[in-house]
């Protein structure tokens, strides 16, 4: 199957679809937050509320077969790729019907069918995987572009610089997306980086790179489309830094006391959903009635996803050792003896 690369500027249908996806991500994550508070989601839950423009602008600029990797803050990427909200919510609740069978949870969603190659928990760890996906594309003569989204905190990991160098050295078809939400847990950028802009680091390895307003979904779309075009047509790596802000703490367990209220308010005034809605209304691309209908439809999708997840069965414990190996060597599909008395 071949796909046309999306245009840098979407048509009206495209814009409405982007707005819908952004709204879906917001509502889905608000519901996930409720599920966590109700004790139905365990472990870490990292919300991307506030970062919807960065996510949707990026994913909408890609072909559906462009391999994508992300961090643990990746519900939005999966939803934007079109993964079933039911299967995502069920994964968050650790149910058998989850998109990874309850094994991964919130931090580790994957949807191979949609070329979403997963959310990873070790900061910086997924960047070389994306390089490998790009390598495989070129090896096979494909025209996909590998895309990896990671935080500005991750950009400080040595492995990311290693990847910039290899991408530049070998001209791999990859787009590095640095989602600069200005904090890594409680550490603001200026306390973690010698230079507060990150895109020049890629530029140092001869990678075309820009910084754009990550709260403006059309700006993100345009920049990522250009980056993907370079990688796809000119076979050159590219890097886009998206300046954004997360509205919630690092994860649900972070009381978010480090960031100043004034700063949070300033960024909330630039809520990507609100500003995009204003654009769409102002240009008569959508009307208030259509927005209300869309929101009602999304509420239903999210409510349905949560109900589905809550009603789904737990993972049978006998499946604990299934899938350790793709090619198990003994009959009961266990990697080796479980070593339990």
């Amino acid at each position: 199957m071949t796909h046309a690369a999306p245009a840098a500027q979407p048509d009206h249908d495209g814009m409405r679809a982007m707005f819908r996806t952004m709204t879906l991500i917001r509502r889905f994550e608000e519901r996930a937050s409720d599920e966590y508070m109700a004790g139905r989601i365990g472990g870490f839950l990292h919300l991307a509320i506030g970062e919807e423009a960065a996510i949707v602008g990026t994913v909408s600029a890609l072909r559906p077969d462009d391999p994508l990797t992300s961090t643990y803050r990746e519900h939005g990427q999966a939803l934007a790729r079109g993964s079933d909200p039911r299967a995502i919510m069920a994964e968050l609740l650790g149910r058998a019907t989850g998109i990874c069978g309850g094994r991964g949870g919130s931090m580790h969603l994957m949807d191979r069918e949609r070329s979403f190659y997963g959310g990873y928990g070790i900061v910086g760890g997924a960047v070389p995987l994306a390089l490998g996906l790009a390598w495989a594309t070129r090896y096979r003569g494909g025209d996909q572009v590998s895309v990896t989204m990671f935080g500005e905190g991750a950009a400080n990991q040595g492995v990311v610089s290693e990847c910039f160098n290899m991408a530049g050295l070998w001209d791999l078809p990859i787009v590095f997306l640095i989602l600069n939400n200005q904090y890594g847990m409680g550490t603001p950028v200026e306390r973690a980086a010698a230079v507060e802009d990150f895109y020049p680091r890629a530029a140092a390895y001869d990678i075309e790179s820009w910084k754009v307003d990550g709260m403006d979904v059309l700006a993100v779309r345009g920049a990522v489309a250009e980056a993907a075009r370079l990688a796809r047509e000119e076979r050159r790596p590219a890097c886009v830094e998206l300046l954004a802000y997360r509205y919630r703490g690092h994860s649900m367990s972070d009381p978010d006391t480090v960031r100043a209220t004034e700063e949070k308010e300033r960024w909330k005034a630039r809520d990507p959903l609100v500003t995009f809605e204003r654009v769409l209304l102002g240009e008569d691309i959508i009307d208030a009635g259509a927005i209300a209908a869309m929101q009602a439809e999304i509420d239903e999708v999210v409510t349905d996803a949560a109900a589905f997840a809550e009603e789904s069965p737990e993972v049978p414990v006998v499946e604990l050792a299934r899938d350790v190996y793709a090619q198990p060597w003994n009959d009961d599909a266990r990697g080796s003896a479980l070593m339990r008395p």
């Binding site: 094994r103 991964g104 900061v123 306390r191 993972v315 990697g335 479980l338």
Partner: protein, 333 residues
């Protein structure tokens, strides 16, 4: 100074050890991610930035390999870094520095340089953090000559062992447990150091020796209660450090009970329990009445789903079954 043991949490005991050692020796400094302004991901370093300033409590970028290596270099120059790796899972990023440099430098250069540093990090499973955030890597570190490996189970040991670790002239891997930070107990005073290489009997008993460390001590003690109710009297021993390992205390107990169970939250293959069992076979073969039984986490990456995770990690019931097995009892008898 030590007039009557204070009750405090494992977290605060660690904090107190850090504070006291920083007051005592200005070569001691702390470095790690979010340890200053944010008080540490688990709040172990709370208040230390205010007390000691940015020169001695240093927030780093997310660069485990880099700042661990920096710690090694600073230690070679005579400082006493206490490096916090946010969780043991992220130590894998720094493994090259720990294994290739920290553990080797004193030996490889003929004793010319020392690496008096501590790398503190919590680990363990049980909080539904899934496969990449639930490691127990005691075995990986203990495998490496040149490292010392410390695994405190109580607030008292957390404090006393950390103080010993900071004063030690070798690289010390100090493994805390995410599940124990809130645990309360008595702690020693400023001069109460807990020496390395001294196991402690947590509960005396006659019928079987149960060896467990870190959070598993508490699992073993819970199992011991259940077993006592069945008339089975187990001895629970906590090695407290794996390098050095106090084999004498473990072997003396096993020679008395003739039976041993080793509990370890890590994986079974080439794990801590496997290593301890091998020592026991070598030291006590003629005294053993039954094969040593290991209780480990399941031999799988840790799953997210709560029920799977609970099934994967050692529970008191698993220890009870293991003791039944070495005593030759039917399960559930």
């Amino acid at each position: 100074m030590s007039d009557g043991p204070a009750q405090m949490t494992y977290r605060d005991a660690l904090n107190e050890a850090l504070r006291e050692e920083m007051q005592r020796d200005d070569a001691v400094f702390l470095m790690g991610e979010d340890i200053g302004r944010f008080d540490g991901a688990f709040k172990v370093t709370r208040g230390l930035l205010d007390e000691f300033g940015e020169q001695r409590v240093v927030d780093t970028p997310i660069t485990e390999a880099g700042f661990t290596g920096l710690g090694i270099g600073a230690a070679m120059a005579g400082l006493r870094p206490v490096i916090e790796i946010m969780t043991v899972n992220f130590a894998l990023v720094a493994m090259d520095q720990i294994v290739s440099n920290a553990s080797k430098i004193h030996y490889m250069f003929g004793g010319q340089a020392t690496v008096p540093m501590v790398i503190r990090m919590p680990g363990g499973a049980g909080h539904q953090l899934s496969a990449q955030h639930s490691h127990s890597l005691e075995a990986m570190f203990t495998h490496v000559p040149g490292l010392k490996v410390v695994v405190p189970a109580t607030p008292e040991d957390a404090k006393g062992l950390l103080k010993t670790a900071i004063r030690d002239d070798d690289p010390v891997i100090f493994l805390e447990s995410e599940g124990l930070y809130g645990k309360k107990g008595p702690v020693g005073g400023e001069d109460d150091l807990v020496p390395f290489g001294q196991a402690v009997v947590r509960r005396p008993g006659r019928d079987c020796t149960v060896i467990a460390h870190s959070r598993m001590v508490w699992v073993a003690l819970a199992a011991a209660e259940d077993l006592a109710a069945q008339g089975i009297d187990v001895e629970v021993i906590d090695p407290r450090t794996f390098r050095p390992l106090d084999l004498d205390t473990l072997a003396a107990s096993v020679r008395r009970t003739s039976r041993a169970v080793v509990v370890d939250e890590g994986w079974p293959e080439c794990g801590i329990a496997a290593g301890v069992a091998a020592h026991l076979y070598e030291a006590c073969f003629d005294w053993l009445d039954a094969p040593v039984v290991r209780v480990n986490s399941a031999d799988v990456p840790m799953p997210y789903a709560r029920n799977l995770e609970q099934a994967a990690i050692p529970q008191a019931g698993d220890v009870v079954s293991a003791v039944h097995a070495v005593l030759g009892r039917e399960a559930g008898a």
